[in-house]
Amino acid sequence: MTDAEALPRGRHGLSRETVARSQRERLLDAAARVTAARGYEATTVADILAEAGVGRETFYELFEDRRACVLAAHQELLDDLVAHVRVAYEGPGEWVERCRATLRVLLEWFAADPALGRFLLVEPAAVGPEFHAIFQAGFDRFVAVIDSGLDDNLPDSHPLPATSLAVGAAIARVYGEVAAGRTARLPTLLPQLTYETLVPFLGEAKAAEAAAQP
């Protein structure tokens, strides 16, 4: 349904507030929430149906099985996050400002709904071998977004792939907080994450300067 380029709808594609009426969306939202709460292994189709208030027949018209539904929910959520990041990154201002805006949106996106953050980052590994490809594709999408709008005047970071280091820094930091159950405090880490993601591009002095901005 949502393709990678789609604009975000509301604050969260799958959050309670903006849940669309369609049964598919209700099922995807339910799959994400039940899996986040119980873990993938313990989640059954019956759990998802109960949470979504949708019948079994409808479920199997839309999805082959539990795995397909959970993977579709994951894809939808990732699309939503990528869309939010893209809009922030393509906003107005100097490159450093745009980066800060992007990081702010990223951290707030996770803090707005910790359960969904957990579903996005922690649960896929339990789903099965698809996880590897999903993880890699997600990583590449963020790198592509950042690479699409780099400032022409950035210092040479050769031989380091600065974008990949920056995306890796952001994922590692957010993952660490989400896994530790501290998702809600993520927005307070903006200065720290600004430094960690910009230092591969800008060097110590300029990254510290960017991080110190109010």
């Binding site: 970071s157 890796g168 930091r173 591969p200």
Partner: protein, 187 residues
């Protein structure tokens, strides 16, 4: 266990897979391990031990912390390029089975890096969190392995050197060392 997890992930692995690959009986399996998770933990620990040993051997006997780090990093990448299943299990499955395990394994690495700097008399200044650098290095390695390019792992040397040095000596010095490490590395 390692081979099966690398191919089908932990979730997709059954005890039947493990015993058939290992050519041992189910009875033997249960004599050695309580369950699948118990066997996985033992396998993951074995993977970590191999990496730690390889890095420690390579890092010993160097004059400067930067050299020791570079040598250790190169040895680790060579090991993972030859046996990518180690990286798949440690970076992929461990995360899914129990995120707490990752912290336990990073706890092997970080003190080892700190010791390299302390033995040189340099105070381990914390420019960036070493734990975070560990996570980022893990992501980079994992990224190459899941992309089916384990043979390109040695080309990550500048990145890994950067990540291992930046927490202690800062970005600017780490970039200098990464550039030095990148000489002669095909990317």
């Amino acid at each position: 266990m390692v081979a099966s997890c690398a191919e089908k992930t932990y979730a997709g692995t059954t005890i039947a897979d493990v015993v058939s690959r290992a050519s041992v009986s189910r009875t033997t399996f249960y004599k050695l391990f309580n369950d699948k998770r118990d066997c996985f933990d033992a396998a993951a620990t074995l993977c970590v031990d191999r990496i730690v040993e390889t890095v420690a051997t390579a890092a010993a006997g160097h004059d400067s912390p930067a050299e020791a780090t570079r040598s250790g990093a190169a040895a680790m990448l060579a090991l993972l390029a030859a046996e990518p299943e180690l990286a798949l299990v440690l970076s992929g499955d461990v995360v899914g089975v129990d995120p707490g395990l990752v912290e336990r394994y990073s706890a092997f690495t970080v003190p080892a890096l700190e010791a390299i700097w302390e033995s040189d008399g340099a105070p381990p200044a914390k420019h960036l969190s070493p734990g975070l650098a560990f996570g980022r290095a893990q992501l980079l390695v994992f990224h190459e392995v899941t992309a089916g390019r384990p043979e390109r792992l040695p080309a990550l040397l500048p990145d890994i050197v950067y990540l291992a040095i930046a927490p202690f000596a800062g970005h600017d010095e780490a970039l200098r060392q990464a550039r030095a490490a990148g000489v002669g590395v095909a990317r």
